[in-house]
Symmetry: C2
């Protein structure tokens, strides 16, 4: 984590404190699992969502802020994210997450199910502790629901050869953008920024989340197709059809359908051919252009924020994260 944040010392410090709080909060009787959870968060992850939360808090009114409350809310966001990661790894049967073995692969599905559940309770406990009596309790319940519905939507559109951009965005909006949006909104709200800034924060977070996911999905197709990386095969074999593929399919469905109709029986060679087809029909280029437009929307809204260090760093981070060169 540390290396990524070296140009953002204030955020780095706040994220370190958030990690300490998560370590303190996540207590289970089995010490191996506890360590696995801490490794997942504080070594493997960037804590991006808490970072956006703190950046928006910086734009608020520092005089009024409760530092402990902010730390706990930041931790609640990351813990909710962790819970969904642990459960996603069960569904994907993923051996690795962030370079380390998943809870599922190390301890089996039994432990993974309960570990994720336990993280939900930690999330819930932190909310009961920080926002009891606030409308944000309901906001969080709804966000958690949308997050899960996004995952379920993705599952329901698996192997759907005529999957639309709308299907894709509906799922991404839930599974990824919702939590980015909530992070920014909560940073602005609990940082005592005004209503207009809160409104902007929610929208900026949503666009950052969408662009983040699209770039992540592009990575699966940006590897040299001759030395095809495992993720491409994994996504395709599991029937998760993402934006580069969707854009490409729409240009020449007749070339893609024979491959897609094989569903999970697609061979490595066929997956490589499919990857080449995605490039041939500009799927990656089109997806990049899409992500670029969404990023520009976010940057445009960031310009409307009041001038301050938080705003500058927000702009810098958004560009660092979303305007990567491929």
């Amino acid at each position: 984590m540390n290396e990524f944040w070296k140009d953002f010392p204030v955020i780095q410090q706040q994220l370190n404190e958030t990690c300490d709080l998560i370590k303190h909060q996540v207590k289970v009787r089995n010490k191996d699992i506890e360590q696995a959870l801490i490794d997942l968060t504080c070594s493997g992850g960037k804590l991006l969502r808490p970072a956006f939360f703190f950046l928006f808090a910086q734009i608020g009114d520092k005089q009024k802020q409760d530092h402990q409350q902010l730390l706990k809310i930041a931790a609640s966001i990351e813990i909710l994210h962790m819970a969904t990661l642990v459960h996603d790894d069960i569904i994907d049967d993923s051996p690795l997450r962030r370079g380390a073995a998943t809870i599922q692969s190390r301890y089996g599905k039994d432990i993974a199910v309960y570990t994720g559940d336990l993280l939900f309770t930690e999330f819930f406990e932190l909310l009961a502790d920080t926002m009891n009596g606030s409308d944000f309790l309901h906001t969080n319940a709804v966000a958690m629901k949308r997050l899960l519905l996004g995952e379920l939507d993705q599952m329901h559109t698996r192997y759907k050869k005529n999957i639309t951009v709308f299907d894709y965005l509906r799922s991404v909006n839930g599974k990824t953008a919702e939590l980015f949006s909530l992070s920014c909104l909560e940073g602005a709200h609990f940082g005592y920024a005004n209503k207009e800034i809160q409104r902007l924060a929610a929208r900026i977070g949503r666009n950052i989340g969408i662009a983040f996911q699209v770039y992540d999905d592009i990575l699966d197709y940006s590897a040299d197709s001759k030395t095809l990386k495992k993720p491409v095969l994994e996504d395709l074999a599991q029937g998760v059809y993402t934006l580069p593929l969707i854009f490409a399919i729409q240009k020449a469905p007749e070339h893609f359908y024979p491959y897609l109709e094989k569903k999970s029986d697609i061979s490595i060679e066929e997956a490589i051919e499919l990857g080449q087809l995605v490039h041939k029909y500009d799927g990656v280029t089109d997806a990049k252009n899409f992500a670029k437009k969404v990023t520009e929307k976010a940057l445009f809204d960031i310009q409307k924020l009041p001038d301050c260090l938080g705003k500058n760093q927000l702009e810098q981070l958004t560009q660092l994260l979303l305007q990567r060169s491929f």
Copy 2:
């Protein structure tokens, strides 16, 4: 459900309304899953926890009660229970629950993980709706955590041949008694009973929960051992050692250890022999006596409640449920 409650018409009516609310609340895009969830609750289950909730609410101050709030809290309790059932079935790989196919066996673990998660969000949403600003938000977060820790405790003591009564009770206290206790406590609290009644309610609920679980575990051993029912094998093969077995082991560990050391490799014949040994060393009788004592504690506390229909029905239900003849 209806048949069980025929002698409790007021409760029956309230449980029907709770079911209607659950049906309204549990909405997922996949209609099959929605139906499976509704079947699980409103056909298969007795809604025991909401029933105890409503019985304690009857003891409170009806003038002050908010009927809609009570219904929603009753639904939140049952939905939390449903969530844990759906996830437990993943871990146990159970084909059947309440005579119907489990979500896991019908739709696979992927759907089962998310369905359980989704139920957690529904639970959370109902709490945000009914007790925002109340200390009970925290009480619920803690209860949910204890419930899961009870399940984890059970998992950690699997195949533990020297498992103690303390190990067993610690797990039961979390996985079963906690939610019974919360149901009774919330009924008293949100039904506007006084503090003393609330304190009694929590204790009565805890004892009812413990006795309920012990009787449930006795059922596994009360089948004729020659026509051994599947549950015995399942529990033993999965290394879940319950009170009848624990009591028997303590009397003659040397007779039990050779069987238990086989762990999941125990054969059907050996499991039958083990069941006979449990009877031989009075494991079932001792467990019944234990459950009887715990039930008597609950009934003793029920006597301290103010005289009213709720009290009478509470006594009747507790006896119906816990003083079964074997």
